[in-house]
Assembly symmetry: D2
Homo-oligomer: 384 residues x 4
């Protein structure tokens, strides 16, 4: 008999923004249940979170190693199927590595890990283990992003010439890391965040979205990163010139000091015959401009979209879906593939659609190259 | 120990739009679990739905009466706490009545029931039983609706003078009820829908939203309803002039033949000093216009909003929340109140915020009056 | 040899909002020149205005009668061709009547005049004289309004079922007429404005726009007007239910106490296959929603529009045109027709497109009926 | 006695887009009249244009040199006061130089001229002659651009950190220059346009707007230009990284192959406390986002704006002003200054606000540097 998939969580105790997001996203469609967790490195706090989540205290653990080993020891019909890693960047590799080596599938927050070395090891381990691995570049979960990707893949815009992707936020306009704000604190700390700040945290989302929608690879880049807030250790703002493998030109702008901006990820892609525009803060509109006919606005849930858009939509047009629903699409697609795996079937291609460990390696490479380009004296274009 | 609340569902088998919505909304916050259901009057189909929802087959029932009686017989630690009724209008009263008489709390879709007589009986039964009853006028669940209500209650707009509420949809522009479309079929059938079509289905949402946001009561109305599609038995379009108790004037427009419209519920309220505008298709914006200072756009999740807006928001500004999240707020607030009840506590006032059986009676009265006004020869204003 | 047309102005001295608008609109395309004026009933102030406008002092007059008679006496090669009347409502009939009787063509601001009796006399005089008469219902001058009208006339939306036209302003939210504000003062004075306030001033624009775009006639109406500001003598807010000759239903809302609104004229028209939406504050977008294909936004100046839209557009798409350009289209079309008349030719049909004295009579009838309906005890529907 | 200022035009015969724009802009406010012109190098076509503009055939000339010399010979009370140059770039220097040397003031379209050498000569000649010179970077004429500039100058946003300015068009997506399209033909021809294509034509508008609004100087830049259309001789698309003198970072994107885009100039500027956004296609909105209070939309013509915004606005809020009105503000401010000059007065500072020959030199430098940066092998940052 079909059963719900069982998820264990690393990090994401009560009060952590992204932990709650992962839980809501994972369980929205009723296919996944949270069965265990190592929510904090402080065992008492971990138990508190577990209780608030109505978990069996026996399955609330003091750290991820304990969780992975003790769950492994449980009977197959009870133990977790996969872990979801929602810790800061420096705590991605450890649990992912251990889970894979114990035969657990993995969902992991982005960016993939702390540095390129870890990234390449993880990629190898995923490949060799044959286990499923999903990276939560959640913005590719939106149905209108998928519609855009499909339109481009089908040549509706002709050859792509120009990409503009931007991700301004403003919440780090002041030195929040000095005010004991947890989110700010690890994101601006090289030991926990890696060599990039805004470019790692949100620039990678922009990079991933650009490659996902266009189906093109960035080939070269030239970057200018900066920390505008005095004393900040990592970039909080930057621009990158892009060249894609097919000759398209692009630019990427990511910033956490664009004061007043919320979470304004936005992409425009222009081809020979027209262009698309999608904005995360109005995610149910896909603006399509044409060279020689009136502009269209395609809407989530409406008629005439590609199947992949419909499959990733839950409710009728005009009933707005948002961030959680898009995030849930990553989990839902992962769950369908995992369910199929458990049943020894091949999942339908339309569900084999979630960011992979390879996407994660691309992201780490992006971080490495933008930082190197920005630090170089002469701003040579760097191959990517 | 705190535990999840247990929900039984009446109607809403797999494939039914609103059933899935209620399930996602109810479980989003992890406080409620679906434990049983009577999903269809066809027992086999009910079981199929139960299986798809991973339910214990023993707790999937062939009809609501069976469910209520057999759940009642289960031990307290196992049986459902409340039922959620997601059937067509003519099937609201029966299960609600039976659930109340067996001591179960009730969540019920809108409009309250089929006619005024049923409505008044239900109101009486809820009052006398002291049980909790929530009506899913889900649009009042949006945080920016609550922000608007609070601004008005605090006099920020001054005395309210003018209300414009409109709810255009276009999906009934053709005679869909002849094409075996389930949603269209019962909504255009007087035996299942009641005396009103569009005015009952969505006009009541508009009426409820107007009274919720303004805190004012409609006192008189004058209506013009019409069925534009040949052979349709109930109104598919109508306008209503409104007068409110405080002297404010208003108008309400609800239509299901406004071709091309999706679900465009929108309200504007003007007072002496300014006005607000909120649109369900852009639910995270609250436009506030002032007589003598620049227009503002207040945004879900941003700083400076009233507590009630923050309490009904899950994620930071710029991470769009939508229809399901607003719907989930109705369930969440209901669940907090029910949880408090189970623990013998008084819930905090900010959570005592979900549509009541009295709101349901207002809605039935609205239906009765607009139909009567529209049918009268001389269109007298009718008291409301 | 072709020459510029010569305009004389009644009213509109320096400082008067609408006088400057008429002058800019009239001269924008270089076909019309202002040659004389009776700008004020105070001869000194009239001269001051004339001087500021670089007019020959000999052709600045103390009142309209003097202007019409003395211009008549000038040689044909010098005297004005037409007058433009930009005075308050009670001062329309006099100069229009005198101009017509002296053989001058007329452009007149709206509404046509003070009451129905004057309106019918003017209509008769225009018809009998054979002179040109344009009424400046300027909002029909926008190219995207004309595009919408043409789409509907060509059946692109199918049979029209529903019209929603609204015109909220907020500038009369306080008792401005007590503060020596000239615009407010005459508009709220029955002796200068007529029997209606907001409904006459802007409601007639809405009514005219609805009939222009749809090509349909309003057949019946039922109105509720109100003065929200204490002591105000005329309505400052009102709603009207409409029935059109073809069976379409509509509503019209006009208000000058919708605090915070600027000049938000907006119309939506729905037919069997789709609907259009146009908003005066975003006049270069025509939103077209379809029952079964993606929504479009047609844009001023872009490819694929009807000829009439292109003819009324001056600059390429993306170079926004506004209120003055639309207003100028009324004058331009009038000028082309007048020029043709002077040359003994028939103007091309696409230019025979400006509001007529008959439109003015419709407007006066609208005022009469909405006031009567609103004042009637039982709100009978009144034929229109 | 005050009189209208007399303008002579070089280029801009009937049918030329920008010629008509300049005429409408120059005459909108009734302070300037067109008295003569050299509309084409073909005398017959020049006469045709003159006739269509109702000019005295004696003052329609076969070339600019003839015009300047013969006008100079006319009595002071008759001859033109200034010339307006609306020819392609390679034809700016000649007439500007000759006019200045004959004592005529100059209005000139942008970019200033063909190359840096011409630019510096013109700057010198303007300075030495003491004559007035206005460059029609018309986008700085919009009232909300001026409001933004004033807000920033007054420190409302704090120290500026980030600038994003973009100017996508799509009209050169195909090889229009091969189809005898006049606008495309000269703009893609290095002999008539100069060393840059899109960057010269519209990139300079973006650069000028960024420096105007922020009051900051670009200090360094790094560019990537490209011609996407096969066989095109000049760039049709490009991105530029910017560094400003105060440490702010920026990016500029200008493109004429962004298929489907009209004329979408848009700028965002972020400081320590908030950011502004202005878009030329919605020019009456100035979006202001704040770090810690709700977003505002400031609107042309509304209360509470800086004086400079009001002075550059003609009609009340909600009556949209557009491209022509903004363009007219350049002429109006130039005219007020010239009028003052003629009367021997100092113009009020608020009117001393139009782009200068120095702005033109900045633009030529921008062109020179972006082309050099893009062509350099190692993409060194170039000082600017």
């Amino acid at each position: 008999m079909k059963r719900k998939l069982r998820m264990g969580m690393v990090g994401g105790g009560i009060g952590a923004f992204i932990g709650a997001v992962h839980r809501m996203a994972a369980t929205l469609d009723g296919q996944i249940e949270l069965v265990c967790g190592a929510f904090s490195s402080d065992p008492e706090r971990s138990q508190k979170s577990g209780a608030a989540l109505y978990l069996d205290p026996d399955r609330v653990y003091g750290n991820y190693a304990e969780m992975i080993e003790r769950e492994k020891a449980l009977p197959e019909g009870k133990r977790m199927d996969f872990i979801s890693i929602v810790t800061p960047n420096h705590m991605h590799f450890g649990p992912a590595h251990l889970a894979l080596s114990h035969g657990f599938h993995v969902v992991c927050d982005k960016p993939l890990c702390l540095n390129m070395e870890e990234a390449l090891r993880l990629e190898k381990e995923v490949t060799e283990s044959g286990l499923l691995f999903a990276l939560t570049h959640n913005y590719t979960g939106y149905p209108m992003v998928k519609q855009a990707r499909e339109m481009i893949a089908n040549g509706e815009l002709g050859k792509i010439r120009r990409v503009v992707v931007e991700y301004p936020q403003g919440w780090l306009s002041t030195k929040l890391e000095d005010e004991d704000q947890k989110q700010a604190s690890w994101r601006t700390d090289p030991n926990r965040s890696g060599i990039a700040g805004a470019m790692g945290d949100i620039g990678t989302h922009a990079e991933n979205l650009a490659e996902y929608i266009t189906g093109l690879r960035i080939k070269e880049l030239c970057a200018d990163l900066h920390a505008h807030v005095d004393g900040r250790l990592l970039d909080d703002d930057g621009s990158v010139l892009l060249r894609f493998a097919n000759g398209a030109r692009g630019l990427l702008y990511a910033s956490q000091i664009s004061a007043g901006e919320e979470n304004n990820l936005r992409i425009r892609v222009y081809g020979e015959y027209g262009g698309i525009e999608w904005s995360q803060q109005d995610p149910n509109d896909l603006i399509v401009r044409w060279l020689d006919k009136p502009m269209q606005i395609m809407r989530t849930g409406s008629a005439g979209l590609y199947e992949v858009a419909a499959v990733n939509t839950r409710i009728p047009a005009g009933h707005p879906e948002g961030y959680l629903e898009a995030f849930a699409n990553i989990y839902r697609n992962f769950a369908v593939c995992l369910q199929a795996r458990l049943e020894g079937k091949e999942p339908e291609p339309v569900y084999q659609d979630f960011p992979s460990v390879q996407d994660g390696v691309r992201g780490m490479k992006f971080i490495e190259k933008v930082v190197a380009s920005s630090n170089s004296d002469d701003h040579k274009w760097l191959a990517y």
